[in-house]
Symmetry: D2
Subunit: 144 residues, 4 copies
Amino acid sequence: MSWEYSRRVKYYETDRMGVVHHSNYLRIIEDARMEWLRDNFMSYSELEKMGVIIPTASASGKFVSYLRYDDEFKVIIRLVQFKGVRMEFEYEIINSVNGQLCYTGESTHFFAVDGNYKPYLSFRSKFPELYQKMCLLHEKDTKI
Amino acid sequence: MSWEYSRRVKYYETDRMGVVHHSNYLRIIEDARMEWLRDNFMSYSELEKMGVIIPTASASGKFVSYLRYDDEFKVIIRLVQFKGVRMEFEYEIINSVNGQLCYTGESTHFFAVDGNYKPYLSFRSKFPELYQKMCLLHEKDTKI
Amino acid sequence: MSWEYSRRVKYYETDRMGVVHHSNYLRIIEDARMEWLRDNFMSYSELEKMGVIIPTASASGKFVSYLRYDDEFKVIIRLVQFKGVRMEFEYEIINSVNGQLCYTGESTHFFAVDGNYKPYLSFRSKFPELYQKMCLLHEKDTKI
Amino acid sequence: MSWEYSRRVKYYETDRMGVVHHSNYLRIIEDARMEWLRDNFMSYSELEKMGVIIPTASASGKFVSYLRYDDEFKVIIRLVQFKGVRMEFEYEIINSVNGQLCYTGESTHFFAVDGNYKPYLSFRSKFPELYQKMCLLHEKDTKI
């Protein structure tokens, strides 16, 4: 079972077309990713206190159908790659009421030293338990 | 003559009512205030490099009439108070095409030490020239 | 007992000062007001379906202390005025962990016909039950 | 010569990492695309008045290096595909001061009937001159 995040569309997330502005999907999947981290790994703010951050290296997505104000949606998120310090997530956003697929996307990230924004090459040796946890999460999300 | 800032409404500043979301007026007057600073005083990023920041203490405004996507508008800004480290700005946002008043507001701010967010009590003695400049700007904006 | 809304600060609500950008308080109190409406009155999207909208006429607030990424906060909201079609809400935002007051503000609004943005003068006669409900909510929020 | 859009990073576009939040690159390239339309084709608001809109179908990008508050940048934009009603743009965002590449991305869009959000299949026959103009812009942006 994949992990899910759900909430409703906020008023200020819509634009004059009456639907969620496409830039806000990157914010919505960030919300989902942050809650996934909290639930499965540790909260991002705890990670920051340990001097580790997770910049976004790339993001792409297809805007398949529209979400409107107050629509309830869920984000299905899976950690589809984890190698050393790099990771890739896949997302699907689904309208919770009618089951319609609204967005599919992926984003890549890496563990970095706070204030540096470069891959944290010694992440595995410095944080062996966190590294191990990420491997298990990746395994869980990619097994058939 | 008051100082003016002008630009057009961006698409992502509108909401599903088809008009600028009211929260964005605080962003628009920040844009205007930052450009006022650059033109009359020094750029905010230069100020930050000197270890000085200008937090917002309060803001209020009336949403008089609506701005829509691509509307050209101007922000009239005046420094109506400056005492020690505290300052107050007044704003009017006007539709550049039809002259309609869209927003009136004010905001209060203070000079602070970066990383502290408390009024920079020694601002006048540490930066006598900047202090003097603010006094002159205030005088210019409040003389009848 | 006043009605409360609570959630955590999202990453994209912060700015380079490391705290919630002051414009986002208007979005946070909108979130609170929308949930207050849903819980006490009816959802804003249902109201829109009836052809009624609630534009914001004015808003003001004091930024008392800072909220940072992931801070849990609550918004206390009270309907302090309701006359005909006009209403005023008061807000306090409080850090849920340390009890610190972060923001106090108020906003005024009015019922309007969708697509018109002018006060819905016949609101009371067209929607007598909704009018009555608002009167009761106002009474509840202002009695000592 | 490719068409360019330039401006500075706004304060509220940064996040607590001190850099432009990655979601805002989709807003920045929208700004660029809208100005490209105005300069080369017609303003998006004029297009809307003719009953035509241009939804975003997909977007992807790489966050190569960071932009900070007040950094001046330029967006280079090219119409790399245009077939019937569908179009694809490519973007590069470059720091204007040091020439560093900050972002590369692409987005796909289509002409649609306002209120419908489906490809405007008769766009070519209904707006032959606009169709022809897009073909020329595409030719100009893709010739070696």
